[in-house]
Symmetry: C2
Subunit: 220 residues, 2 copies
């Protein structure tokens, strides 16, 4: 069984890699910077996006893809904020793959986009294995989840270029030691930028957005 | 690609079903009641188990299996509390399957067990598809995750026999409406028992444990 599973995964991952390469070529041709935003369910990805759009849309032309197993609630929350939003319902699948993103790209006018942000399915495991051709992987970790998550879900955090520590306003009510998270990231060999924030109140969102804009401009 | 994926999943699920049936026969033969405890990362599964053992071990002979992608931290937290604990490291796999549980069962003296509790990998998606032959599926949802999770991860909540609403002590700091969760569960056709609790302080853990003990005795 173990061997069989590995074979199946290899074929699925190879297929994903092929679609990711196609997306990457398209992003390069159109000058689009792409971000894969990932976390556990309920870490605050959609709220971070809501608040980030206020900073990003005056400076960049954005497109948003939102992945969910069911409902269009996240897409509805993000509409009318100056960026086109496309919802992908995975109907049970635990992550977005590069082929799903490729399909969603046809809904955008790619010539007009500077930055594409993809909000992945809430899952700290599976999305880490499926790149879609993005420039940056960004992981969100909220303080109520606990500071053991970097150690317990190492693949996600090892691969992330930035880690947003959300719900920092709750830190005094939960056992969360930011130093421990920084130490665990170092132990994984990570050089990720760390951005503490409270997306609900807006605290810290500006610093993350300024950094993101710099990343887009560097490659643009 | 889609068709291929479905074929692969069918074969994996059929294999899991075969192992789940074997486990089920073993549980029946040995008079063991088995619980599958599932949630997002950081909802508080291990803390709930820590506090529940105080109520359960004086009345029942327990065994615990803990699933994690990496580390043995959860198992270490649970050791020395009157129940044998076995850690399964999935090395990247996003859920426990019935074959993994079968392998772990050989570490217990099954004749001595009344209740087996399996703490699954932190993931609100994949574990819902992989029964291991359990009597009860129990989902944990913590208030900081938000009250949209039942709608957004319907498969997990539709299949659960009990839902533990953890971190109820944080409810005034986060947007969480318990009535909305109850309504969403009804809309899914769920008849799950709902247990609000704050495992960190112990609030509500007794009510959940008394209910669980009744379930074990009913079938015993």
């Amino acid at each position: 069984m173990t061997v069989k599973k590995i074979d199946l995964n290899t074929s699925i991952l190879a297929n994903n890699e092929m679609w990711a390469k196609r997306n990457r070529e398209l992003f390069d041709a159109e000058g689009i910077f792409a971000v894969n935003l990932m976390s556990s369910p309920g870490s605050g990805k959609t709220t971070i996006l809501e608040k980030s759009l206020d900073y990003l849309t005056p400076q960049l032309k954005l497109g948003i893809i939102v992945g969910d197993i069911a409902t269009t609630e996240d897409a509805n929350r993000l509409k009318g904020q100056g960026a086109p939003v496309v919802q992908i319902n995975t109907h049970g699948a635990c992550h977005l793959d590069a082929q799903m993103i490729s399909g969603a790209l046809s809904s955008f006018n790619l010539k007009e986009l500077d930055l594409l942000i993809v909000e992945n399915v809430g899952n700290l495991v599976c999305p880490a294995d499926f790149s879609f051709g993005e420039d940056l992987k960004v992981a969100v970790l909220s303080t109520p989840e606990g500071n053991d998550k970097v150690r317990k879900y190492p693949e996600m955090f090892r691969k992330s270029h930035a880690v947003l520590i959300n719900k920092i306003d709750l830190i005094s009510f939960v056992d969360f030691d930011l130093n421990r998270v920084e130490e665990d990231l170092k132990n994984l060999g990570s050089r990720a930028e760390i951005f503490p924030m409270a997306a609900k109140t807006g605290q810290g969102v500006d610093v993350w957005c300024q950094w993101l804009i710099r990343q887009v401009r560097k490659t643009g």
